[in-house]
């Protein structure tokens, strides 16, 4: 079934059957066509330039033939005008083709760059739209390789080969016509030599498609390994992972090398065959041509022009071979890119969004109606069907063991995933009907891993609300208790946090992430273990901030620390995906609701000194 190969499914497969192969190729061609379509006028212009340039450069040998056949006899008779015309014509043709070449290179260069920028943006934006569930299974390195090594392969094709292909095709056609005009029987002889070329080209294209699928996959694996190592360099060094990593990279390198060697080997055979056919045709033409000139059936100038054209005829075939090669390589990349672009986000923006009711200032109500959730059709149910209503303004804490399903509930509110059944609604509006921008303005989630981007502290806080002024950024930092450490940094808010926030400690990164959320000022705040690395006084400051911040908004808090839980209006104890206790903290401590929270609380109290 060809539908099995939708999206990125075919990536891991080395050998695809013929039908799937055709399907994948058609998909890549569609992508290429859709990229070129907006630029059709420029493609036509480029084509026209190539045609004109070829006509101009083809005029050259004609002028040489004319000079020899007409110019010399005239010059012998003392009349050099014909000769001068011929030479002048030759120069004009050369000048014309140089100028046209300049124009063509500019037009095609711009065309290539426009295609690339469009493709880059399409992949980037699409990758951002794809759901977390996709990213969790696809690995970051692969997305990165789609946007780096695969783009490089397409760039190579556009850069070096499109013009080679166009001008080769045209000069082959043009010279073919010229040969026929000069001498039809000999031209037909040359064209017969073309048949084996067509066969060998087909053979090459098929084989190289497969081979380049291999090189593209191999370099992607190298990128995945590289990215993983660089992101975990501390652990790599401390646990002496270097040797093992190097042997893994050695294998991957070897794989890439093998794939490349296979591809190169094919090209070597291909170009040799092309050249061989060309040279043997030349010898044949000479033998027959010479015999005919001697027999008086052909003029010397015609034979001269013929041999000149013939060499030019086969030179571009080398370019065509190079294009076939670059195209194979690019189409393996296009195949993967088109697969990624074909993946549709599981979490979609609504086609006709419903506006949220006007902001009341007291947060928004969250309701779960008949919600159940599983990550995929074959995976176990994480959350069995449940209903839950959180009134506007309430602060709810989710408590339970690791893996109980707390984070999943939180992620449903932030619409990282859509529920498998039922609906999650904000103020009665199904999240699936809310425009993304509205939803992200209304509900913000702060996750455990406080990811910082390269840039300054202010940039990172400002991510919460890009139009915030510096004063607002600083106010947000002050409100969560981050101002003190930020101001102590060498350049304060302008200090570069360095890669992934490497300059800051885990606690400081969490504070920055927290300030970011504070600045975003959402109606609904979801905190998933957002304070786990803070020391107690800082956490207390954050809690104090939270208590005032949360007064007029709805909040969902996941925390292992009961100190954080106790600021909540309501506690939900989650066990195996079910809400087993629900009530105000003080009530649950009494143990009336089943005693799980009471036990937790007791354990916690015992852990205190």
């Amino acid at each position: 079934m060809s539908t099995d190969w939708r999206g990125v499914a075919a990536e891991e497969v080395d050998e695809v059957d013929r039908r799937t192969g055709l399907m994948l190729q058609a998909r890549s061609r569609r992508l290429l066509a859709s990229l070129l379509r907006p630029h059709l006028a420029r493609v036509a212009l480029a084509l026209a330039l190539v045609v004109t340039e070829n006509v101009a450069s083809l005029a050259g040998p004609l002028m040489v033939a004319a000079a020899i056949d007409a110019g010399i006899p005239a010059a012998l008779g003392g009349d050099t005008t014909v000769l001068l015309w011929c030479v002048g014509g030759y120069l004009a043709a050369a000048l014309g083709s140089a100028g046209l070449r300049y124009l063509f290179l500019n037009v095609s260069g711009r065309l290539g760059q426009d295609v690339l920028i469009e493709l880059r943006q399409r992949i980037f934006v699409h990758a951002q739209r794809l759901s977390l569930s996709f990213h969790e299974s696809y690995t970051s390195g692969k997305v990165i390789s789609r946007l780096t090594s695969d783009i490089d392969a397409i760039k190579d094709m556009l850069d070096e080969s499109i013009e080679g292909m166009l001008s080769a095709l045209l000069s082959v056609v043009g010279i073919g016509i010229m040969l026929m005009v000069l001498d039809l029987p000999m031209a037909l002889l040359v064209l017969v030599g073309f048949l084996p070329l067509i066969l060998v080209t087909r053979w090459f294209y098929r084989r190289s498609q497969h081979t380049y699928r291999g090189t593209s996959a191999a370099i992607a694996k190298i990128i995945v390994q590289f990215v993983e190592t660089m992101n975990g360099i501390r652990a790599v060094q401390a646990f002496r992972r270097a040797d093992r990593n190097e042997s893994i990279m050695g294998e991957l390198n070897e794989g890439f090398r093998d794939a490349n060697q296979r591809a190169f080997g094919l090209v070597a055979t291909f170009t040799m065959t092309v050249r061989m056919v060309g040279n043997l045709s030349l010898a044949l033409v000479l033998a027959i041509g010479a015999a005919r000139v001697i027999g008086g059936g052909m003029e010397l100038g015609v034979l001269t022009a013929f041999t000149l054209y013939l060499r030019r005829f086969y030179d571009p075939l080398d370019d065509m071979a190079m294009f076939a090669n670059a195209y194979s390589s690019a189409s393996a990349s296009l195949e993967k890119i088109s697969g990624l672009l074909e993946e549709s986000p599981e979490v979609n923006e609504p086609a006709d969004p419903v506006a949220l009711p006007a902001r009341s200032g007291g947060g928004r109500a969250i309701s779960f109606t008949g919600v159940s959730f599983r990550y995929g059709p074959d995976t176990p149910v994480v959350l069995p069907e449940f209903d839950l209503t959180v009134p506007a303004g309430q602060t709810v804490a989710l408590v339970g063991a690791t893996g109980a399903g707390k984070s999943t509930i939180a992620k449903l509110v932030a619409r990282f995933y859509d529920p498998t059944t039922g609906a999650v609604a904000l103020d009665g509006v199904d999240l699936r009907r809310i425009a993304d921008a509205d939803l992200r303005g209304a509900a913000v989630m702060v996750t455990q891993e406080a990811f910082l981007f390269a840039g300054s502290v202010a940039d990172n806080i400002g991510l919460g609300r890009p139009d915030a002024t510096r004063a607002e950024v600083e106010a947000a930092a002050r409100a969560v208790g981050a101002a003190e450490f930020v101001e102590a940094l060498p350049e304060g808010y302008d200090t570069d946090v360095r890669k992934r926030g490497g300059r800051l400690s885990a606690g400081q990164r969490q504070l920055v992430a927290f300030a970011r959320a504070f600045l975003a000022d959402p109606d609904v705040l979801v905190l998933d273990e957002a304070t786990s690395s803070l020391d107690i006084p800082t956490e207390r400051a954050v809690q104090a901030a939270l208590e005032s911040v949360l007064a007029d908004r709805t909040a969902l808090i996941i925390a292992h620390r009961l100190s954080t839980v106790l600021i909540a209006d309501r506690v939900l104890v989650v066990e195996d995906g079910r809400i087993v206790e629900d009530g105000a903290p003080a009530d649950l401590v009494d143990g009336r609701a089943g005693g799980r929270f009471a036990t937790l609380h007791r354990t916690w109290l015992e852990s205190l000194v």
Partner: protein, 595 residues
């Protein structure tokens, strides 16, 4: 966002940059020369063919004597076949060296990056490293396979072609020489413009890769705040900048190309004019002129291609420059010249002796004279406010960074005097951020320790209370986790990282807030199991919670880069106000709830 760490616009001559490829090229020198000879051979065949054609035209065709014709045609066929075969030989010869140099350079870069200190990695954008390892190296491979050889051979062919022309006719040879001379001027002008652009475009491609990487790794934050479009706008801006640079390169390249392709044409036109006049005067044969024009035509490609080859060479030089910038970064944390052996048995006596630390390039000291003695088997907790230098201090023990003053000793030996592999086998660390690798659970846990058995791994998992959930994974210990495998929850990741640290019972254990992501019940269980481990090993534990602190025999309070107090938990709680503020807040909460 930032441009930190990449050494832009460090200009050096292109030639010097290429010369640095020497050590990699040397082993494949023979094949490169062989390949060059094949190119030369095939070109000579190509160059000889017109001469034979001249013989055919001036000989049998002119005289009508067909006796020598078959031999001459056969000669053309043979030369043609040789040319084609040498084409094949050239490519076959170069496949190995090109890919081999690329693979070796990548391996060496990767190895070097493994050894560069963490401070280097923090400062370099990930995309800049990635683009060097992938794009720049493939540029170099292409250079070695094609441009390097053709640049030499084409220049040579040009010279040989000129000599042939001189032999055919000194006048025609002179005309060609005059037409070839401007080539040098064009190329010099081109060089100066193109190489700066090449550098800029490759750097911009690296920036673009950085944005791509962050957009994927930070996808949760971007989704949570709906900031995907903002980053996409930044990506679009960077992509436009790159496009701008690339278009400028196209323009420079197009101008050079247009200028260069005029040169052979001028020379051919000159031949035509003077040759025809000479024929008219009777001082030249038609065959000579045809041969000269054919040779001049043949020289078109070597001449035209010089523009493209020069562009490739410039890109390769830039790639080499960028590559060596990373390779030249000093590995500051190295094995000592004469490493001291570990004491046997290792007792694990960890001492900090007036330790100072400042981040490279930063004025302020993070640690200002830490002196701390952790006796063998003792567990010391490090407590201090967020950002007080606790994590920095722990990173100094396995030498992820080196002290900038004072020293750290294990069993009396400065850690800088031990072989790195010895040191890191003695010291095991669990980091705040639990990093897992794309490998099986078993491999992730057994990672650092040598000769770890399955039983050791299981024991470690038991201590970290990870055995149960690992058993429940689809393939148990063999389940592949990490980014290319199953994703685990934060608490599960942290427990595996803890298991990795305790496996094989290292002599010194450094735990950086090892229980922060665990729920209360699991935390209590892990603590209980950890106690049995900590009894025998020397441990430094960064702690934020009273529960974790209770694992320790003594507590050191770190504030502002110095240890302000040291003692048992209860002693400090009773006598130190700062310590109380840091660790006893919960009491107030308890009172609240109880009330």
């Amino acid at each position: 966002m930032s441009e930190h760490g990449d050494h832009r616009h460090r200009r050096g001559s292109s030639l010097a940059a290429l010369r640095r490829l020497g050590p990699y090229i040397r082993p494949v020198r023979g094949r490169m020369i062989g390949s060059g000879l094949a190119v030369l051979g095939s070109m000579l065949c190509g160059l000889t063919i017109p001469l034979v054609i001249q013989q055919i035209l001036d000989g049998p065709v002119a005289s009508g004597d067909t006796a020598s014709l078959p031999w001459l045609v056969l000669a053309v066929a043979a030369l043609g076949a040789t040319e084609a075969t040498l084409f094949f030989v050239r490519r076959k010869l170069m496949i190995g060296p090109g890919t081999q140099v690329e693979a070796r350079m990548r391996t060496d870069l990767y190895r070097h990056l493994h050894r560069l200190p963490v401070s280097f990695h923090d400062g370099w954008q990930s995309g800049q490293l990635l683009s060097r390892a992938v794009t720049d190296l493939s540029t170099l491979r292409r250079f070695i396979v094609f441009a390097a050889i053709f640049l030499v051979i084409n220049s040579l062919i040009l010279v040989i072609g000129l000599v042939v022309l001189f032999l055919l006719s000194p006048v025609l040879g002179l005309i060609s020489l005059c037409c070839a001379a401007p080539l040098i001027v064009f190329c010099t002008i081109f060089e100066s413009r193109y190489s700066a652009l090449a550098r800029r475009s490759q750097d911009q491609a690296g920036d673009l890769a950085t944005t791509v990487e962050e957009s994927v790794l930070g996808i949760r934050v971007l989704k949570a705040f709906g900031r995907g479009p903002k980053l996409a706008a930044m990506f679009a801006r960077q992509a436009r900048e790159l496009r701008h640079t690339e278009l400028r390169m196209v323009r420079v390249m197009a101008a050079l190309w247009a200028a260069i392709i005029m040169l052979p044409e001028l020379s051919i036109a000159g031949h035509l004019l003077f040759g025809t006049l000479a024929i008219a005067n009777g001082t030249m044969t038609v065959g000579t002129l045809v041969a000269a024009v054919t040779v001049a035509t043949y020289l078109r490609w070597p001449t035209d291609s010089i523009g493209w080859l020069l562009a490739e060479t410039n890109r390769a030089a830039t790639a080499s420059q960028r590559y060596w910038e990373v390779r030249d970064a000093p590995v500051t944390i190295t094995d000592p010249d004469r490493p001291r052996p570990l004491s046997t048995p290792v007792r694990g006596h960890l001492r900090f002796d007036n330790v100072h630390f400042r981040h490279p390039g930063s004025g302020a000291e993070v640690l200002r004279g830490i002196t701390l003695d952790v006796r063998p088997g003792e567990t010391v907790a490090l407590v201090g406010p967020t950002g007080s230098g606790k994590t920095t201090l722990t990173a100094l023990v396995p030498r992820l960074a080196d002290v900038t003053g004072g020293r750290i000793t294990i069993d009396g030996v400065d850690v800088r005097k031990l072989a790195l592999s010895d040191l890191r086998s003695v010291v095991a660390t669990a980091f705040e951020d639990a990093v897992l690798f794309s490998a099986s659970v078993r491999e992730n846990v057994a990672m650092g320790a040598d000769g770890t058995t399955e039983a050791d791994v299981r024991a470690a998992l038991r201590i970290a209370k990870a055995e149960e959930f690992v058993e429940a994974l689809p393939w148990g210990l063999a389940t592949r986790i990490g980014e290319q495998g199953l994703s685990l929850s934060g608490g599960q990741r942290q427990r595996l990282a803890l298991a990795r640290a305790v496996v094989g019972r290292p002599a010194v254990l450094v735990l950086d807030d090892p229980l922060s992501a665990l729920d209360v019940a699991t935390e209590a269980e892990v603590e209980h199991a950890l106690r049995s481990v900590l009894r025998d090993v020397t441990a430094l534990v960064v702690a934020h919670r009273p529960s974790t602190v209770q694992l320790a025999d003594r507590v050191a309070l770190l504030d502002g880069g110095v240890i302000t107090a040291i003692g048992t938990h209860s002693h400090l709680l009773a006598n130190n106000k700062d310590y109380r503020t840091l660790l006893s807040t919960l009491d107030e909460d308890r009172d609240e709830v109880m009330a």
